[in-house]
């Protein structure tokens, strides 16, 4: 791609990454969550593939595919943590928060970042899975397209 596209991509990619991370991290407070944020991050992969060509990202498929598995397993394992009471039980509810705000047992959320126990962690697990899964899909489609043409 032309130098304009490459330069703009260099500027946009970190911003989009940060936005994606924001959407994942605030999934329990604002609209969005693991899937949506992951899709935003995966769009960065698409951007990079378009701007810089897919050949230089080829080895990333070996990172993305296991990462997808790890994300999925992390989600199920987080759900298994609650199995002392019930599956998916929020085991971190009622414990102290990372940024000072305690996690409420039940009821309205004060709106601070770490106030939902295992929910944000599950968002991250889903986020990783979607980043890796969609990213790998984009990358593999680009690579296969090259081989055919």
């Amino acid at each position: 791609m032309s130098v304009i596209v490459r330069t703009v991509s260099r500027v946009v990619a970190p911003v989009a990454l940060a936005f994606g991370a924001y959407v994942i991290m605030h999934g329990h407070l604002t609209p969005g969550g693991g899937f949506q944020g992951g899709a935003v991050v995966a769009s960065v992969v698409a951007l990079l593939v378009v701007a810089f060509g897919c050949e230089r990202w080829r080895k990333w498929t070996h990172v993305l595919l296991p990462l997808e598995d790890v994300g999925a397993m992390a989600f199920v394992i987080l759900a298994f943590l609650g199995v002392g009471a019930t599956f998916f039980r929020n085991v971190l509810a009622g414990s102290g928060g990372l940024f000072g705000a305690p996690v409420p047992q039940l009821g309205p959320n004060p709106g601070a970042l770490n106030t939902a126990g295992t929910l944000p962690l599950m968002n991250w697990a889903v986020g990783f899975k979607v980043i890796a899964g969609l990213g790998a899909v984009v990358l593999l489609l680009a690579l296969f397209g090259r081989e055919d043409g």
């Binding site: 296991p66 598995d69 790890v70 999925a72 397993m73 199920v76 394992i77 759900a79 298994f80 609650g82 199995v83 009471a85 019930t86 599956f87 998916f88 039980r89 929020n90």
Partner: protein, 508 residues
């Protein structure tokens, strides 16, 4: 741990599906052991759930609550995700467990490493988890999610042989039909959610009034599920899918199709059981059922591909189940109960007989390299066990006494005759035609002079077929015992269990 059995039966294969790929990077033997452990544990949990549901009544499991039975929050609103397993769900869980166990025993020697065996095993676990989720969930949206899990895993498995052209086409066709069916279900779920602000099946069942929107939702749900089940006129994906999928996936696909019949029963008798379940819907389902039987059997007559021939047989069996569901709805109680007993019993019989036939077809494809009937012949000289199993499965499929297909089909004929003699006559006629078709297939593939070299199947595959053959014979010899123990609770759950289901989930 048995308290958590319903969710463990879903979550363990799910975790297994994801972890299997990781384990496969380490060592292949370790991966096989891991897959066996997961499969054994999952089926044990399904059996545990079934025992609890048959002895104690509806098993309710609430996700994320302080205790599994706390399904309703303060204020009496069931906002949490629940699993609710009644007799019918438990029975379907048993079918899924049988299909899954057999598929796993079969596939270790059936799949080849270089084809992507790890992915095949992983997808099989995913499909299994989806089926168990569909039959155990008590939440309409989760039902849709599990439906989609099975759709995606099923399509990937159908297209497992990517290096051939036909599996890819079959997978695409199936994907299109499954997606369309899934969308119809999703729209129906959206309508009900918009109307009643709830997704819990028991809560919705209580709230549904029978308005125009409810009727629309019922129509959409039935349409989507009939597509998923492969009823005429939306059956065209099924022969392709069954014919091209690897054999161990096909038997789980059959269980998946039956999960769609389960869902029809659940929707008609539980969800809309209060306001809208009318004989008219029963006649509609029964006529679609008889159409499915006739079209599928007539199409089976002209098939040259052994897999597709059996696949049309499988579709026709599905028509018998739909016929039974329809007759059961036309006459609730009385001969309707007989029809439902036959239909529900036929599900497990069909899983065994059709499953056995597909496993034999898989073994034939592996041994002879082809399933094209004109090029086969005389396989019985070398594949003795396979020939015996094929004949057994074929006779059970056609409903010859004393095999299990006879026991359930006889109940269906008997009750259908009371509802409409013409339907019963057509069903019987189709069964005779089916016998002719499968006998021709047996003769063409296994009898006559030896047409090509073939090597017998390895022992693991024979064991898997043997289990199903045993089920066919035992269920055929002692139908009363099994009807009383496992089928009757499911029938009672359908016909009279709605109040108990609602009370178990909503309390009071």
């Amino acid at each position: 741990m048995l308290v958590h059995a319903p969710i463990l039966a879903i979550a363990v294969p799910l975790l297994g599906a994801f972890s299997l790929l990781g384990v496969s990077y380490i060592n292949r033997t370790l991966r096989n052991v891991w897959a066996c452990l997961i499969a054994a544990f999952t089926s044990a949990m399904a059996v545990a759930v079934a025992i609890r549901a048959f002895t104690e009544g509806v098993v309710v499991y609430t996700l994320g609550a302080a205790s599994p039975t706390e399904s309703v929050t303060a204020g009496g609103f069931p906002i949490r995700i629940v699993l609710a397993v009644d007799g019918l769900g438990a029975f379907m869980g048993l079918i899924a467990a049988l299909a899954g166990v057999v598929a796993f025993i079969y596939c270790f020697q059936y799949l080849r490493e270089e084809e992507g065996k790890s992915l095949g095993l992983s997808l099989l676990l995913l499909l299994w988890a989806g089926i168990l989720g569909m039959v155990y969930t008590g939440d309409l949206f989760n039902f849709f999610v599990f439906l989609e899990i099975t759709s995606i895993a099923a399509c990937a498995l159908i297209g497992y042989r990517v290096w051939e052209s036909r599996p890819a086409e079959a997978a695409f066709k199936t994907m299109a039909m499954y997606t369309l069916g899934g969308l119809l279900v999703l729209i129906a779920v959206g309508i009900l959610y918009g109307e009643y602000d709830a997704l819990n099946i028991a809560y919705l069942s209580k709230a549904i009034t029978g308005s125009l929107l409810d009727r629309l939702a019922l129509g959409l749900l039935l349409g989507g599920l009939l597509m998923k089940a492969g009823a005429v006129p939306a059956h065209m994906w099924a022969p392709d899918a069954y014919g091209e999928a690897p054999a161990m996936a096909t038997i789980v696909l059959v269980a998946n199709t039956q999960a769609a019949i389960y869902a029809i029963l659940r929707v008609v008798f539980t969800l809309f059981g209060g306001a809208l379940a009318s004989p008219g819907i029963g006649w509609l389902i029964a006529s679609l059922g008889i159409a499915t039987v006739l079209v599928a059997v007539l199409m089976a007559v002209v098939q040259r591909h052994l897999g597709r021939l059996i696949a049309y047989g499988a579709v026709s069996q599905l028509g018998y189940m739909l016929l039974a569901v329809g007759v059961g709805l036309v006459a609730r109680g009385g001969f309707g109960e007989v029809a439902l007993t036959g239909g529900i019993f036929h599900m497990i019989n069909d899983a065994a007989s059709v499953g056995l036939l597909f496993l034999v077809v898989g073994a034939v494809r592996r041994a002879a390299g082809s399933v094209d009937l004109p090029s086969l012949g005389g396989l019985g000289h070398t594949l003795r066990w396979e020939a015996g199993f094929f004949l057994l499965g074929a006779l059970a499929l056609a409903g010859i006494p004393p095999l299990n297909g006879f026991a359930s089909k006889f109940l269906i004929y008997e009750s259908t005759f009371r509802a409409s003699p013409i339907l019963a006559a057509l069903a019987l006629l189709a069964s005779i035609l089916l016998l002719a078709v499968v006998v021709r297939a047996f003769q063409g593939a296994f009898l006559g002079p030896r047409a090509r070299e073939a090597s017998p199947a390895p022992r693991g595959m024979l064991v898997a077929m043997g289990i199903l053959a045993l089920v066919i014979i035992v269920f055929g010899l002692f139908p009363g015992f099994f009807i009383e123990r496992i089928v009757s609770p499911a029938v009672q759950a359908v016909l009279t269990g709605r109040e108990a289901y609602l009370a178990a989930v909503l309390g009071g």
